[in-house]
């Protein structure tokens, strides 16, 4: 049984479900099997979460035991985890409060950073020594003026110009990129099913 090696089995576990899903996409004849495979994937993912939780506890308990820098944050994290987990079963009202009032607000606050970084992108880009950035800056300016409520007051040409840039070069470029990405995905797929690509197996 020496021919059964771990990597070959892992590759087969990738190839067989991929082939079934692909056959079903074109023929529609393996619908129930495809649904079953997708269900299995969800089930396995649920077990994987357990692994993740164990890793999370291991990490933060180690931080606490060794009193590493920022250890009080580990206490907050573990306490938050256990409290939320317990409330979900013991006191659902409190659980809803944590999710809808505390977590949602914190998440919104964090998302504000996305806005901050995206608005300051223009200023950062202007300091970058890269010729492509010039194209980006021109596109940003055109986009800004195109979406400006008072654009026609400045110049009536912003509307048609912005629309043309959006519909023609932008859509063309996006589609070209999409074709390239699709071909790249196909190349990676064939490398994986032939066993040349093994990075997803780890070490």
């Amino acid at each position: 049984m020496s021919w059964i090696r771990r990597r070959e089995i892992c590759i087969l576990l990738y190839v067989i479900p991929a082939a079934i899903i692909l056959i079903n996409h074109f023929s529609g004849s393996l619908g129930p099997v495809t649904s079953e495979i997708i269900l299995w994937a969800s089930t396995l993912a649920t077990f994987a979460i357990l692994l993740g939780v164990i890793s999370l506890f291991q990490h933060h308990l180690t931080v606490l035991a060794r009193q590493r820098r920022g250890w009080p944050y580990s206490i907050i994290l573990l306490a938050s985890f256990l409290t939320t987990f317990a409330f979900n079963y013991i006191y659902p009202t409190a659980y809803d409060f944590i999710i809808n009032r505390l977590l949602a607000s914190l998440q919104m606050a964090l998302l504000a950073y996305v806005g901050f970084y995206s608005y300051t992108l223009f200023f950062r880009a202007s300091g970058t020594k890269n010729p492509y950035v010039l194209v980006l800056l021109v596109a940003i300016l055109l986009g800004l003026f195109y979406n400006l409520p008072m654009r026609d007051v400045i110049w009536t040409g912003w509307g048609p110009l912005g629309k043309w840039v959006n519909d023609v070069p932008n859509t063309g470029g996006m589609n070209a990129l999409l074709i390239g990405v699709g071909i790249g995905t196909l190349a990676l797929f064939i490398r994986t099913i032939l066993g040349y690509e093994e990075a997803y197996l780890g070490g």
Partner: protein
């Protein structure tokens, strides 16, 4: 039997797959091994890791929120192929790595990838379980907070973000730019191409991520797959030109082929 409306798509799929296979086989047998241009992002990796070693600061790596069980899997696999060599360089120079894992099913694979990198680099004793930290399954905000906190506190010398990245691209690269990290980033995701160009020192645009993943291994079959991608691009260009002419002259052939 192939479903109506998918027959042309199926034939095109087989043609593209066949061209890729031929290119890979030609390269594998040494008949036609393509020469691939250098990627600045790949060339910068040893220098970047060396810089981290000199500054005695860690390297932050990320594959974004894409996993191995969703439609973003090819991007994640490509990212893992590049990160494999990044971690090996880190192993050689003894530079600590940090990876925040957002997909539970990727945890063992990434732990193995990082551990393997240190083993291949000749310093397995420098590997620590803490290097791969789980932050919540599919919890993008948790990943963003973890990245932002880590980059702000630890100030890594190098920030590498590859794969299927979403909003965390803004956070990771934005925060990295503020902290002065050398940034290598690449994603085929359309909406984030602009931010890569603006904020990454070495961006990998669009399908460059896939090509770089093949290039980093240096194996003839992988290099052959890049040549295969070029053949496929030529097929797509021919199709675009032909269909444009057909549409211009008012032919119904194209719509017939699509509904076949």
């Amino acid at each position: 039997m192939i479903l109506p409306g998918k027959r042309f798509e199926f034939i095109l799929f087989l043609v593209l797959l066949g061209l890729l296979y031929i290119a890979i086989e030609l390269s594998r047998r040494g008949i036609r091994v393509p020469k691939i241009r250098e990627f600045a992002a790949l060339q910068a990796i040893p220098e970047a890791i060396g810089r981290a070693a000199e500054l005695n600061r860690p390297v932050h790596i990320s594959t974004g929120i894409g996993g191995l069980s969703d439609e973003w899997a090819p991007m994640t696999i490509a990212a893992m192929a590049i990160l494999r060599s990044v971690v090996e360089y880190c192993g050689k120079l003894g530079v600590p790595v940090k990876y925040f894992c957002i997909r539970a099913h990727m945890l063992p694979a990434m732990q193995d990838l990082v551990r393997g990198g240190y083993v291949r680099g000749g310093r397995p004793e420098r590997y620590s379980e803490d290097m791969v930290e789980f932050v919540g399954d599919g919890q993008q905000r948790a990943l963003m907070a973890a990245m932002m906190g880590y980059i702000s506190r630890e100030k890594p010398a190098v920030n590498i973000l590859l794969g299927a990245t979403f909003y965390e691209t803004y956070i990771s690269l934005g925060c990295g730019a503020v902290q002065g990290c050398l940034q290598i980033a690449g994603t085929p995701r359309l909406y984030y191409q602009g931010i890569l160009v603006a904020l990454a020192d070495y961006p990998l645009i669009g399908q460059e991520l896939y090509a770089a993943a093949a290039k980093v291994s240096g194996n003839p079959p992988d290099l052959g797959s890049i040549a295969g991608q070029d053949y496929n691009t030529v097929v797509c260009l021919i199709l675009i030109v032909v269909t444009t002419i057909l549409a211009t002259v008012g032919s119904k052939l194209w719509s017939m082929l699509l509904s076949w």
